[in-house]
Each structure stands twice: as C-alpha cells, then as structure tokens.
Amino acid sequence: MKFVATVGATVERVDVTGGEGRYQVTIGDRVWEVDARLTLPGICSLLVDGVSWVADVTPEADALAVEVAGERYVIRIEEEIRYRIRTRGGMAAGAGGQTLTAPLPGKITHVAVRPGDAVLAGDTLVVIEAMKMENEFKASQPGTVREVRVTAGQAVNPGDVLVIVE
C-alpha cells in the first residue's frame, strides 16, 4: 500500500507490504524489514535490524503524533492517491480571518471583546476555565470582531465557535 508521509516541510513516499507482525516498509529508496506489534492501544513495539523501539502513536487533527526514543514528530500519512488529489487541487488559502473554536470543554469566565471591536494580534478574546486553570485565548492576527457567540458563565464543548475575527 502506497502512502505519502508529510513530516514538517518534507515529504516522503512510503510503501508498506506484509502483515501479522512482519512488514516491509520502503521509505524513498531504502527498504526496512520491521517486526511490529501493538502492545497497548497506540503503543507499538518495533524491532528493526535488532534495535528495539517503542513508539507512541496518537491521532492529532489530521495527522499522527509519534513519540519514540524521546523524539517527537507530527506526521501526516495519506494514501498516495489522496495526497495527489489534495496537492494537485491546491489548498484554498484561508484568506485572513480567525474563527476561534473551543479546544476543550469548559466554562467561559470572561469575554473580552464585542462585535465591531478592533483587535491586535495577542489581544485576549475570551477566557475559558477548565480543570481549575483559566486559559486565555488570543487573537492570532489584527482585525475586527465580527461575531461573539458566547457569554460569560456559559459552558462550551470542543469545536464550539466562540468568536469570529475578520
């Protein structure tokens, strides 16, 4: 099965064959013989040329965070065909603006802006309390507040839209 791995700014072609614990993985031109077992959900043991690795693989938004040997990588793995479609089509460059969504469940303790306010990058938009900590969320760029969808005291869930800045 052919994949494309995007690691930071670099892109690697990856081909995987085999199964039941024994795999052949080709990265670019190099072929790796891998004995791999999942020993806990998301935690796998790899033997590669006799070296024993334990890798933690955690899903992120559209990628996998991999921790191994004290190093951490965020890797986007796509089937080759999907990668081609995505890159050929070109990304719809998110033309400015910021839609702030709640990244975690919590309670809005403070709303610092109102619709129409001008904000600078770094200005506080809202504060969410979760797990006894107040977490400030800031404007990522200068702009004008178009919408404020929450009020202080309100509970929010991950993904809820809080503030839209244009």
Partner: protein, 498 residues
C-alpha cells in the same frame, strides 16, 4: 479513629493508603463525575456528595460534615487544595466533634492568610519579600501599592497555594487583568477571592522547609525541598535535598521555619516557603498549612511517612523523633504527571485513560490517582500521578528519573511526560543551575519537534498504523476474529458512561 478523606485524586488515594496501613477505616466522598475514581474503589466506604463542579461537591462543607456524621467518621483529612486551608472548614469539623487532621483553625487563619503570616515573619525578624501585609481592597488601592513596591510584582491569592491565583505583572497596564484572573482562580480554587501584592524577586530559587509540630509544643523540620522548576507558578518537578543548600544554610532555613511555626502555634505537618537568591540570602514567602503535593521527596530521604505522622499528631501523640533523629539519606525527585498537552499550549487534556503502564522497579514510587480505564474529568486539576524516585545521590536520582519517565506510558490523554524528560536531560538541570525562571529560559526548545535518528522509525510507526487501520476496514482484510498482531488504536469501551 475513622477517617473521612475530604478530597479526590492521588492525594485521597495517598491518605487512604496510610490509613489502611494504620488499620484506620476510611470514608471517601465523590462527585457525580467520580463514581469510578480510584479513591472510591480504595476506601472502605464511599458516599456521593453532589454534582461534578467542585463548588457543589468537594467544596461543600455542609455535605462533608453530613457524610462524616452519617458514616460515623471521627476524623477528617483534607488533603491539599479544596478545603485544606479553609479555616471555616476546620472549625466546622471541630464543632461537629471531628478531629481535623491539620492545624487548629487559629493557626490556619494566622498562616493560611498569607498577609497575616507575613506580619508574623516580620515580627520574628525572619527576612521576607517586600510587599503588602493586608489583602487588596480595590484595583485603585492595588495600583498605588504596586507603585510603592515597584514592578515587577506578583499578585497572589491571600488563601492561595499550589501556584493557583498567582500572576506576575510587569507593567501597570496589565495589573487590572491580572487581578481579575487571580481573583477568579482564587475564588474557584479556595472559595475566597482575596489577593495581595508582593515584589517579584529576580530568578530566585524556590526552597521550602517541611516542619512537623505536635500538640505538646515540639517542632522539628525535615530538611528542604527545592521546587524551582515551575510553569506559571505551578510546580512541575521538586527535589530533596536542594543541590544549592549546604548544611549551614539548611540549619538556618530549618531554624527560621521552626520559629515561624512556633510563633503561629502551629500543629501538624506544614511547609514554610522561601525564595533564595544566588548569594544564599533567603526570604520568607508563606507557610502552607497542609500536606504539600511534593511531600514524597521528603519521605524518601528521611524515611518518615508524613501522613502517618499527621495522623499520629492528630491523635495527640508526641513526635516520635527529635531533631537529632532526622537523618537524610540520598536524593529524591518528584515529577508531576499532568493531563496537559505541552505541545498545544499546555491545554488541559481531560478524557479516558485507554492505556496505562506506569514506571516501576528499583527506587521508583508511583503515587497515582488513576488506573487504566479511569476517566480524567474536566472539573478538577490536571494532576493524574506523581512519579517519585530515590537514588543514593542527585546524579543517580536524575538518571533513575530519566529511566522511569522513559518507561511511563499513558494513552488516551496527553501528559507532561515528554517535557519532563527534556527537563531532566537538560545540562542546567543536571548541574543544579535552577531558578524559577528555568522553564522560560528553556523556551521553545522544551516543546520543539525533534529531528533526530529516530525519524525513519517514527515514519514507519505512523505508516504501519495507517496501513493496519486501512486493512481492518477493507473487505479483503483478515477476519476480525483472526488473531492479528495488530489491532488498532482505540480499544472498545467496556466501562460506564458518565
């Protein structure tokens, strides 16, 4: 003595363990979010005290006293946080005929109110950080004091502790926002929103002294802990002894701590916190009238179980040791494993722990509040476990901590383990070049993505994960009943709904 543990998480488990070792029956309390929490499973009895928000459960004094009455508990251990430094709670216990495992209410007031504590230290001639000795009455008054004391200043919760309700302010224009946030955190964490101001010392070490005092007037200290590795005034890593403290300084710090405790009529376990500058000058900061999160490092170097000692003191027993009996052996380090994502702005990471393989083996202690399958509710703090190691010297303790952090696996929630690994591997940490600014000094290196020799292995692991996931959902793949070397990431849930 039958002990109600008015807390949750790892400290409730810690106290229940000590009680069990002393053959004292225990009563746990739990909120709706905590029915399956570890402290509920471990206690002899457990009672629901209210909805998930702490204000309606773990901070509800009436409900706690009611459960104590109903269950026949004769003593209350408050742990740390929640009501541990709330004098009204201690009073309510005493009025209900319950032994409060902690200092008398008067001592909590004298010391728990940080401004009152500062007045005591000043009267004893113990050096302290310049600042207020009364809480802030208004934003305007705060502005005035801040100008007198001089920026940068710290805003601190009057009833604070554990770093909550603290803010560093560098410029006057930030003061109002800092006051608001500190008050908010203080109110929700301690049930009292009072704050005060204190001059911020530049890059100090945070060094604290553990004291024990009995009802017969004996006060001893158990050496110091260094807690300079902090993020936003939250300790991440603590150790005992401090690499910076030599025997004469230890004696001077210990003597100052014991004098403060005596002057406050202090009883039970308490901690006197100091800031120490590069020249070894120390400044009294505050006294915490409770068990500290980081108490295990003191236990490992002294061999004294502090919760056992707390319970003995609460029963009116005299201290089992004199100051001369206290011997330090080796070095201990604690790392706080928090459910936070350091790679996404340290956001809290509540959720279900789908996989857990704690470190163990020689010299390793795991004080955990969770188990595989447990959930980390979004209502309480992020501490899920404390990993503590002992070694014959600091160098070996550090090596052991690196080994143990490398073994510790948590799946399902993000944790601080990866940054703790980077901290203990850092040359400044190894050399003992610490200050409360240590983490800022490290800056983005602490959470930078790596590009090292394991890169191809990471790609292989990610590719295999995707490969096996696609094989599973493809009709041509092996039957799901065929034993396969690779079943993917999320284990089926077999536990209860909220």
């Amino acid at each position: 003595m039958k002990v109600l543990v008015a807390n949750r998480g790892e400290i409730a488990v810690r106290v229940i363990r000590a009680c069990r070792e002393l053959a004292l029956p225990t009563v746990a309390v739990f909120s709706e979010a905590d029915r399956e929490a570890l402290h509920v499973l471990m206690a002899d009895e457990a009672y629901l005290i209210g909805p998930s928000p702490a204000a309606e459960s773990y901070l509800a004094i009436d409900r706690l006293i009611e459960v104590a009455r109903k269950s026949g508990a004769t003593a209350v251990h408050p742990g740390y946080g929640f009501l541990a430094e709330n004098a009204r709670f201690a009073e309510a216990c005493v009025e209900a005929g319950l032994t409060f495992v902690g200092p008398p209410p008067a001592a909590i007031r004298a010391m728990g109110d940080k401004t009152a504590a500062r007045r005591i230290a000043r009267d004893l001639g113990v050096p302290m950080v310049p600042g207020m000795v009364e809480p802030v009455t208004s934003d305007a008054a705060a502005r005035e004091v801040a100008r007198e004391v001089g920026y940068p200043i710290m805003v601190k919760a009057a009833l604070g502790g554990g770093g909550k309700g603290m803010r560093l302010v560098r410029r006057e224009e930030d003061l109002e926002a800092a006051l608001r946030m500190a008050r908010g955190e203080a109110g929700s964490a301690f049930g009292d929103a009072s704050v005060y101001l204190e001059r911020a010392i530049d890059e100090p070490r945070h060094i604290e002294v553990q004291v024990l005092a009995d009802v017969h007037g004996h006060v001893i200290h158990l050496g110091e802990r260094e807690c300079s590795i902090q993020r936003r005034h939250q300790k991440l890593l603590e150790e005992s002894p401090s690499a910076f403290v030599d025997e004469p300084l230890r004696e001077r710090l210990g003597d100052a701590a014991c004098r403060v405790a005596r002057a406050a009529g202090y009883v039970n376990a308490g901690t006197v916190e100091f800031l120490v500058d590069a020249e070894g000058n120390f400044y009294f900061l505050e006294m915490n009238t409770r068990l500290q999160v980081e108490h295990p490092v003191t236990e490992l170097v002294t061999g004294i179980d502090l919760v056992h000692a707390q319970l003995a003191i609460a029963r009116g027993e005299p201290l089992a040791l004199s100051q001369a009996d206290v011997r330090l052996r080796g070095a201990a380090i604690e790392c706080r494993i928090n459910a936070e994502d350091p790679f996404a702005g340290w956001l809290p990471s509540p959720g279900t722990i789908t996989g857990l393989r704690p470190a163990s083996g020689p010299g390793v202690r795991d004080d955990s509040g969770v188990y595989e399958g447990a959930s980390v509710p979004r209502f309480y703090d992020t501490l899920i476990a404390k990993l503590i190691v002992w070694g014959p010297d600091r160098e070996m303790a550090i090596a052991r901590m690196r080994r143990a952090l490398g073994e510790y696996r948590v799946a399902g929630v993000r944790t601080t383990i990866p940054v703790l690994e980077r901290i203990v591997a850092h040359p400044d940490f190894k050399a003992g070049r610490l200050s409360t600014g240590f983490l800022d000094r490290l800056g983005p290196a602490l959470t930078a993505s790596a590009d090292g020799p394991a890169r191809p292995i990471a790609i292989i692991a990610a590719a295999l994960s995707a490969y096996e996931q696609r094989r599973r959902v493809t009709p041509t793949s092996v039957s799901p009943d065929t034993p396969s070397a690779w079943r993917l990431a999320t284990r089926p849930r077999w536990r209860g709904a909220p």
